[in-house]
Structures are given as structure tokens and as C-alpha cells.
Symmetry: C2
Subunit: 410 residues, 2 copies
């Protein structure tokens, strides 16, 4: 017997037929002898509608009221799912955040989970009941409904799995697992049976959006084993195997490189001929940070004639604002000009195996050079090497690297 | 300064424009120096959609889950109303049943209010904030959301008005007050500036559905002054005067007859030639009661040759079931035959002034006789005389009585 938390996103519960499908899937897990808790999102489209109502009434609406409104979508689905389960003979009961309680901080609209009381749910599961929990919501210190930010139901599920000491948290989504890279670019990309938390985080943060990043961070911290699998691969009534996101110790045959990620939402900025003296980085990046602009890769040229160039990347949507912020601080920074390039892409090679294997970066540079792809910026971490290239070369680079690291399916 | 509870039904908050209209109306009451709490229903159509979801998933759905699902409609409106109020500079905060708390019994789907804690709302109003309360819902002894049955927001509003010791509970609806009779039948029906609780109850129970009956019972018990007024009569930015439902002591110039009500949802059943012995009424009405069929007017003929006829009325939709129940008990009852007539209407003359004035019933019989309308059954109470007539005569009877009691507008 295992204890499993099953989480279903908005497309999996988009209408009553899909809710019935999910109920049957839950029933199979129960009949296999498992203790099961379910976490659901709002029916797809519902949250967007509720958000639109709030925005139309007031562009700067109160986050407490926004939370009270948008959290209702998950309440509807959890009640309906409980009814669908009861209808096919599965004992079930819905739970809202305040009833569990799942406590959050007071950052309404993007609250973080502070604690989850698992006792109620454990007791119900031991009675043979399936708790159906409204995802995305908790209760704040002000005794008001608080939501966890878009995609927060993944985080709800992982937090509940930790609280009830679940053996596994199954996240049903519209992809059937984690791939070595985007199969739309590399058709023979392979599904990874297992991937380490750290790898998943790096892949998620560079564009492979399968799980909400916070849910992976939480899973890593609480050591929750997360399985990503498709809600639709169900022709014969059974689940296709997905990908398991686990501690790297659980991955016996570690690949040196687990996957290749890319992001085209990047822009590059070069601040030319700034005085080469201490504090100049703070002068540039302080104002950007205050404006809420996240900077990613940073490279500073070797100084020549007492000036230097500072190059960095940021989200392309932030580019116009960043240029305005820098111009507004031209006097304190003292630059000659600002160059920007919105046609760049970041390609990342990710793998925990890199820690014990040299030569991963060298292979990357050699492979790109062989395709005549110019590298504009390089950054590395313990388990990742990222390069910035012209965005036109994205697919070419991803395919070449996928082959070079031996990731192509047989 | 007054303390006022304002309640808005589904059509008054059907879309964002109407929600903004309501917000402006609330603002006017606040700017007039009043302390205001608002109670809202779900946007019109929303509750029906949620009910349909539950029924489609399971005709015999769990009432607890039904409550969790359908109560969300009011949560959405209360949050949106709070945002709309804040947007025009009125301090506001939404409240759900469990937050107040408004406690109910455990009859999910049709719960009754057990207690309302007014302290939180009073405190907020004294701070200058407008509480916006989700109607129709409370929290049951099982710590789960419970709803009060369709139309329950009226009852929520009256209960809150009692809890916060409001000077008045204004119920905004799609009619602009209580009339002496249905203006569709009598175009010169008059709007009653004041009507007694007891009169309102009698008028409501015989078909003038403006307020939920339970809300009037509660208002009478708690002595809450209820004003019924239109949410749409607002061309010049002000409210038209509505009708005030109050204790009869507050009505200085009592009319002998306050109004004429009618109901066409009636059917008549005659059980012919039952043995005239003690217990026969129990034999007939016991099984009907067990089947959940409410019987209204009852008349037993004078016995002849040791048998008698028993005639009664019931809701027309219950007629086929009632016939089946009686047939199933033919042996214990021992009747000769069952006659039924679905083409009957009940006409009622209502007024607290009857208590001190004789001749009201006589006027009724004389008026109907003058129009050659045959009276099939008569029943009377302290403040009401009802007769059963052929349904074809409904309008004729209502008009004649309206004139006979001097109710026509000048």
C-alpha cells in the first residue's frame, strides 16, 4: 500500500466528462489498495474569467478581494470531484484551504505556504475516504483566503504530499513527462524516467515549464517524490509511465547531461564605456533591481583605457523599461551608449552528472563552433552551462547539442 | 445616523455594470452618514449553472458537496462588490459565512440559521468600513459550508440586520414594493407604504413571492424592519420609496384588508363515501404526510348514511402522487372513489384589521356571488379568508374583490 497525492490541472477537469474521467482514475488507485488524496485546479478558463472581472472593476484591485474571488474556482472543482467520486462508489469529501488548514503568509495574490496540518487528511484517508483538496489556496494570518499565485496548485499538491507523508505526488498535466529537450524541436527527444530536483529546477527556469518552480523547490526541500504524467494517455484505462522527479541519490544510472533547455524570451543589453571603478555594477544593477527588473547573465569585459563594457541579459518584455531606467541614471553610471539586442536565445545544458565529469562545457563550445554558431555570453553553475546565441540559431544549436551529448532516442 | 443592511439579489448584480451601480447606491447611503452592511446574491444564472453541474454528475448528490459548490457564487459577488466599492473610494471588505461566523444547523442544502455573531461587522462598520457579506451561506456544526436553500439571501440579510441591530434591512429586488394585488391583473393596484409581518406572510404563502417566507418569519421574530424596493428605479440617482414590512403597531392607519392574493398552483381532491368514524382523517392524511405531500384547505361534509366525503387542496404538482398514495391505501381508508380537479384557484383576502372588523368574509361571499362565481371550499384564519374557485374565474374574482374592499388606486 502506498499513500499518493494526485493533482489534476485545469485542462484535466475542464468539463464534467473530464471530471468523471479523473474520478475513474482516482478509483483505480484506491482499488489498487492505496490511500489517495486529490488536489484540483479550477476548470480551465474559470480562473481567467474571475481575474478579468477583478481587473475590469479595478486595475489596482485589492489583493485580499482578488483572492476571495479567484479561489472560488477550485472550490467548485473540489466539490464536483467529490460528487463524481461518490457517484462511482468512492468515499470522498472536499476540503478548502481554511478547513485543513493550509496556512500561508500575508502576501495576498502570491502567498507562500507556511504550514499544512496533515492530521485531518491522514485521518480521513485511514478511514478509507478520499480527500479532494481545492488547490491554489490557503488561509492567511488575517483569517482570509489567500492564493498562491498562478500555477500554485502544483505547490499545494507538493505541500500536502509532504504534510501527509505521501510516498508520491502525481502531477497530471498536458505533457506525459519530462523530456531531454523540447520534442517540437528534436522529434527523437527521450522521455526521462527519472530526473533530479536540481535538474528539474534548472530546466524549468530556462523555459521547460512543466511544473511550477516553487513546487519543485518545495519538493526538493521536503524530499517529496513527484511524478509528472499525462492526464490524457488513458486509452486502455491505465496510466502511461511519466517522469519521476527525485533526489539524485535515487537516480542510479546518472546521465552526465539530463537535458537541453532553451529560452527565446531573452534580450541582451550592453552598457558601453562605463568608468572602470568599484561600485559601477551596483550603479547599473541597483536601479534595475529597484524597478523590479530581473537580470540573468552578466559579463564584464576586461577594462581598457579605464573604461569597460557591461553586458547582461534580461527578459525581453523588460527591455524597454530597462533602457528607460538606465537612461534616467546616465549621470550616476556615466556610460557612453546603450546597445541592445532582442534577438538572442539562451541555450542551457543541464545535468547533475556534471559535478563529477569534466569536459561538458568544452563539448558544448566545440559542438556550437562546428555549426559556426557564435557564442555571445557564457555562464556556468555547478550543474548547468548556458550560452547566449543569436535566436535564429536556436533549433540548430539544440539539435546539435542533443546529438553531441548522446541524448537522441535509439 | 442609521445602521442599514442593504441586500441585492442576483438580477441586481448580474454583470459588472450592475455591480458598479449597486456600489454607487451603497456609496450614497454611506455619504448620507449611515453605517451600511451589504448582502449579495450570486450573479444571476450562476447558481443555476452550479446546481446543474451537481445534478448532472449525480442526481442524488451529497448535500455537503452541493453546498461547497453552490455557495461559491456569492463569494464571487461579495469580493467583486468590495472591489467596486473600493474603486469609488468606499472602504469595504468581503465576508464569507464561516468568517463572520453565521452558524447554521446541519441540514445541508436547506440549513436554518442558528446564530449570527454581529461583533465583527459592527466593529468594521464603526471603523467606517462597509462589510459585504456573501448571502445564502453559513457554516454548519461540522465546520463545513452550509447553504440556506434557494432565496436564502433574504434570510441572510434579515439575520444580519438582527445581529448588528440595524435600523432597517433594505431588500432590493425586481419589483418596487408590495402591492394590494398583482398589478398584472389589476392595473390600478396600489403600492402599500407599510404592511404588517403577518400580512406579508399570508400574502407570500399564497403566491405573492417578493420575499422568502423564512426571511419574513425571522424579521417578525426579531422585529427587523424590512424595506422592499426596486434595484432599477434609479433614473435620477435616488431610490423610489418602497414598501416597509413592520410590526402592525407601526401601521397607524390600518386598512381592514391589506391585499388580495391568489394562487393557481392548486388542485382539489375529493375522497368519496368514506366511513364516517373516528380516525378516518388520520387514515387519509397520514399516508399523504409520510409521502411529503402538503395538504392545505380541508373540508369534511356532514355525514349522510354513515359515510362522508373528504375534500382537500394540495399543490397541483403533487396531484398524481397523492392519487397513487390514496389508491395504495384504499383498503384502510375504505373510500368509494377519488375525484380530482386540477382547475382550481385559491383567492385570499388578507389584513390585520380583520381582527377588529366583522363582515370581511361576508363581503367576500357577496362580491363573488354577485359575479356568479361558485365557492368550492372556504377556510379562514385570524387575518385571512380564503376561498377555492374555478381557475377560469381568477382574474374576475381578484378584480371584483379589489374594488369591493376599496383597494383601487384613486
Amino acid at each position: 500500500m502506498s499513500r499518493i497525492v494526485m493533482k489534476f490541472g485545469g485542462t484535466s477537469v475542464a468539463d464534467l466528462d473530464r471530471i468523471r474521467n479523473v474520478a475513474r482514475r482516482v478509483k483505480r488507485e484506491v482499488e489498487a489498495g492505496n490511500e489517495v488524496a486529490v488536489v484540483v485546479s479550477a476548470m480551465s478558463g474559470v480562473t481567467n474569467q474571475l481575474v478579468a472581472y477583478c481587473q475590469q472593476l479595478s486595475p489596482l484591485h485589492d489583493a485580499r478581494e482578488y483572492d476571495a474571488v479567484v479561489a472560488t474556482g477550485e472550490n467548485v472543482t473540489s466539490g464536483l470531484m467529490a460528487i463524481a467520486l461518490q457517484e462511482i462508489g468512492v468515499d470522498a469529501r472536499s476540503w478548502q484551504g481554511w478547513q485543513i488548514p493550509l496556512r500561508t503568509d500575508d502576501q495576498h495574490g502570491k502567498a507562500r505556504i507556511e504550514s499544512v496540518d496533515g492530521n485531518l487528511l491522514i485521518q480521513r484517508m485511514q478511514m478509507g475516504e478520499v480527500p479532494v483538496v481545492a488547490g491554489f489556496q490557503g488561509i492567511g494570518p488575517d483569517n482570509r483566503v489567500a492564493t498562491l499565485g498562478r500555477g500554485g496548485s502544483d505547490t499545494s499538491a507538493v505541500a500536502l504530499a509532504a504534510a501527509v507523508k505521501a510516498d508520491r505526488c502525481d502531477i497530471y498535466t498536458d505533457v506525459d513527462g519530462i523530456y531531454t529537450t523540447d520534442p517540437r524541436i528534436v522529434p527523437n527527444a527521450r522521455k526521462l524516467p527519472r530526473i533530479a530536483y536540481e535538474e528539474m529546477l534548472e530546466l524549468a527556469s530556462v523555459g521547460a515549464k512543466v511544473l511550477q518552480t516553487r513546487s519543485v523547490e518545495l519538493a526538493m526541500k521536503e524530499r517529496v517524490r513527484v511524478q509528472v504524467l499525462s492526464s490524457f494517455a488513458d486509452a486502455d484505462g491505465g496510466d502511461l509511465p511519466g517522469s519521476l522527479v527525485v533526489d539524485e541519490d535515487e537516480i542510479v544510472e546518472k546521465e552526465i547531461v539530463a537535458g537541453i533547455a532553451y529560452s527565446r524570451d531573452e534580450a541582451k543589453v550592453t552598457v558601453r564605456r562605463v568608468p572602470d571603478r568599484p561600485g559601477i555594477a551596483a550603479n547599473i544593477f541597483g536601479p534595475l533591481s529597484e524597478a523590479g527588473i530581473n537580470v540573468d547573465m552578466i559579463v564584464q569585459n576586461i577594462a581598457a583605457d579605464s573604461t569597460t563594457d557591461m553586458t547582461f541579459t534580461l527578459s525581453r518584455t523588460d527591455l524597454p523599461r530597462a533602457q528607460a531606467v538606465l537612461e534616467a541614471h546616465r549621470d550616476t553610471i556615466g556610460f557612453a551608449e546603450i546597445l541592445s539586442d532582442p534577438s538572442v536565445a539562451k541555450i542551457s545544458v543541464v545535468g547533475v552528472g556534471m559535478r563529477s565529469h569534466a569536459g561538458v562545457a568544452a563539448t558544448m563550445f566545440k559542438t556550437l563552433a562546428a555549426k559556426s554558431i557564435n557564442i555571445q555570453v557564457i555562464s556556468t553553475s555547478e550543474i548547468k552551462v548556458s550560452v547566449l546565441i543569436g535566436s535564429d540559431y536556436t533549433e540548430l544549436a539544440v539539435r546539435a547539442l542533443h546529438t553531441a551529448y548522446g541524448l537522441d532516442a535509439a
